[in-house]
Symmetry: C2
Subunit: 331 residues, 2 copies
């Protein structure tokens, strides 16, 4: 029997329908990204990107030259522009503002062949350090209300370059889904005086059917109302609302470790699937709020979103999260 | 300069960023759907589907045998099931209910090779008649709160069978995005005592930069805050909140005509792109509400949704709707 489940934070309903798994499945070949003759993200080609804004480098190497392990540069084809005033305008019933923002690329490795699947946690932690550094820096710009950190791996997940990278976009607004999460968690807080994410962690520990793995500081679980097969959320076990303000130096390594465990499980169990991750954190203006809890959402892109999903905000997931969990625990 | 635009109904912001159009574009081959040896939707194979619930047939032909022009059958791999009680349950902080619902397939033509792009409006109107007939019938079931009518054409848009068809899902809840539209339009109504969609139509007629085409009863426009390149909404010009309750027999032909004009423009200008459409209408329990306005949203699937979009509910669209409009007007 299919089941309808509601996400307690956003009130989004999901159909968990194993029956759907039985319909004819077609192997969808991943059309691979054509190899560029020259990769603009490779060492030696630093001149092909805008000048770096952050890097983790070998001692003695110079900015915008080889010798880096990680490098952050403005996106050459930005969705938003850093220069200019934030002008807002009404046009009849419509509202617009200038596309002010920042759009940066975090080049995660100098090695063109290496993906996060191959990376050890010690090096992976530099990526989270880079996220934090860039967020702290950009949060000083009062035009920005939110910074969205995300990654697209594989063409089906939206990547257009295969050299391993993630991205961040600083926005003059709080995006709708984030605003909804904040609003939903505030509703819960007003009722219970507890963070709903802390409550989720407590209930998950109790039930123990959707926890994929955990370590000293983080927990990785399949959300109760998973939208996608093998969707996973990584949350700090301690209440922290804001990644930028709250993550401690001592936590990077634990975060990198649990992240790496999940990726290895995806690699082994799902054969290096295309995936996205998005860091969900409280808006910049809020420092410490009791009702929100930062986390990372990771989605392997195994199914296609069809008309139904974008039209309704309502997802059909053929893999119950309990099954996804036991599968991922075993691999 | 990129621009941020807000959808007046849902408060969803969109980045309109032409710059992004300039980044390297890769031809993404459409991986075609493997031809089944036997198509379950073709005439002669009626036994491969569950028995039909509606059909438009030649005189003298028998149910579940050839001689039909359009046929509606329950989905063989339904996301929801029609049988059973609607049981709701709380599990700690989580909510669930039985996956009760209906999932039907509207087989739009007996001809396996024919797509909506090829169909004349006179035959296309039968599809809208079928939508209405099935909605009226299913709306008698008090377990259902909403019926979602949609189509996926092309594998990239989520189709898994290439014989031309659309689908409907009857749901025991009102989907989130629809509920948001209703709420947003109600907010506007409380302020102005006018339907926001009627206001949109009035302003669009005034500005005349985003109207692609119109006829006696319908208007097709590129929404101000289009999420996708060449996104189009078709709305009745007269205020009508509920497709099922309000569409008149005399309107089917006008709807089919404007729909057909849009598809021909997509075919000519965008070369038969994969697309989705979703019918947005007021929930079943509401008969005539002054603040909501039914419409059809059509989205060619030319760009890939990446991590950014699903994480934020925030879209990046490289094609300003004014440009999309003037392009589509010309072809």
């Amino acid at each position: 029997m299919p089941e309808l489940r509601k996400d307690p934070v956003t009130d989004r309903w999901v159909i968990i329908s194993e029956e759907r798994g039985k319909r004819p499945v077609f192997v969808t070949e991943e059309v691979s990204i054509p190899k560029s003759i020259i990769c603009p993200l490779c060492p030696g080609n630093e001149g092909m990107t805008p000048p770096e804004v952050f890097a983790i480098r070998n001692y003695g190497s110079l900015p915008n030259s080889p010798g880096w392990n990680l490098r952050v540069v403005p996106n050459k084809f930005p969705a938003l522009r850093i220069e200019g005033e934030l002008e807002k305008e009404g046009i009849g019933i419509y509202d617009r503002m200038n596309g002010i923002g920042a759009h940066e690329v975090i080049i995660e490795t100098p090695n063109h062949e290496e993906q996060l699947f191959d990376m050890d946690p010690f090096r992976m932690k530099d990526i989270f350090i880079a996220f934090k550094e860039r967020c702290v820096d950009l949060s000083k710009d009062i035009r920005f209300k939110y910074i969205m950190v995300f990654k697209n791996y594989g063409q089906r997940a939206g990547a257009s370059i295969d050299h391993s990278h993630s991205q961040l976009i600083a926005l003059p607004i709080v995006p709708k889904n984030v605003a909804e999460e904040i609003r939903g968690s505030l509703t819960h807080y007003k009722l219970k005086e507890r963070c709903i994410f802390c409550d989720i962690i407590a209930q998950e520990k109790d039930e123990d059917t959707r926890i994929v793995t955990e370590n000293d500081k983080f927990i990785a679980l399949s959300p109760y109302a998973s939208r996608f097969p093998f969707e996973i959320w990584i949350l700090p076990k301690k209440h922290e609302s804001n990644f930028v303000a709250h993550i401690e130096s001592s936590s990077y390594m634990s975060l990198a470790e649990i992240f790496s465990v999940i990726l290895k499980k995806y690699e082994k169990g799902l054969k290096r699937p295309p995936y996205n991750f998005v860091l969900h954190t409280a808006p910049l203006a809020t420092y410490d709020i009791p009702h929100y809890h930062w986390h990372i959402e990771i989605i392997p892109r195994l199914t296609r979103l069809a008309g139904f999903e974008w039209g309704t905000g309502f997802y059909i997931n053929p893999t119950p999260p309990e099954e996804a969990t036991s599968f991922l625990k075993e691999v």
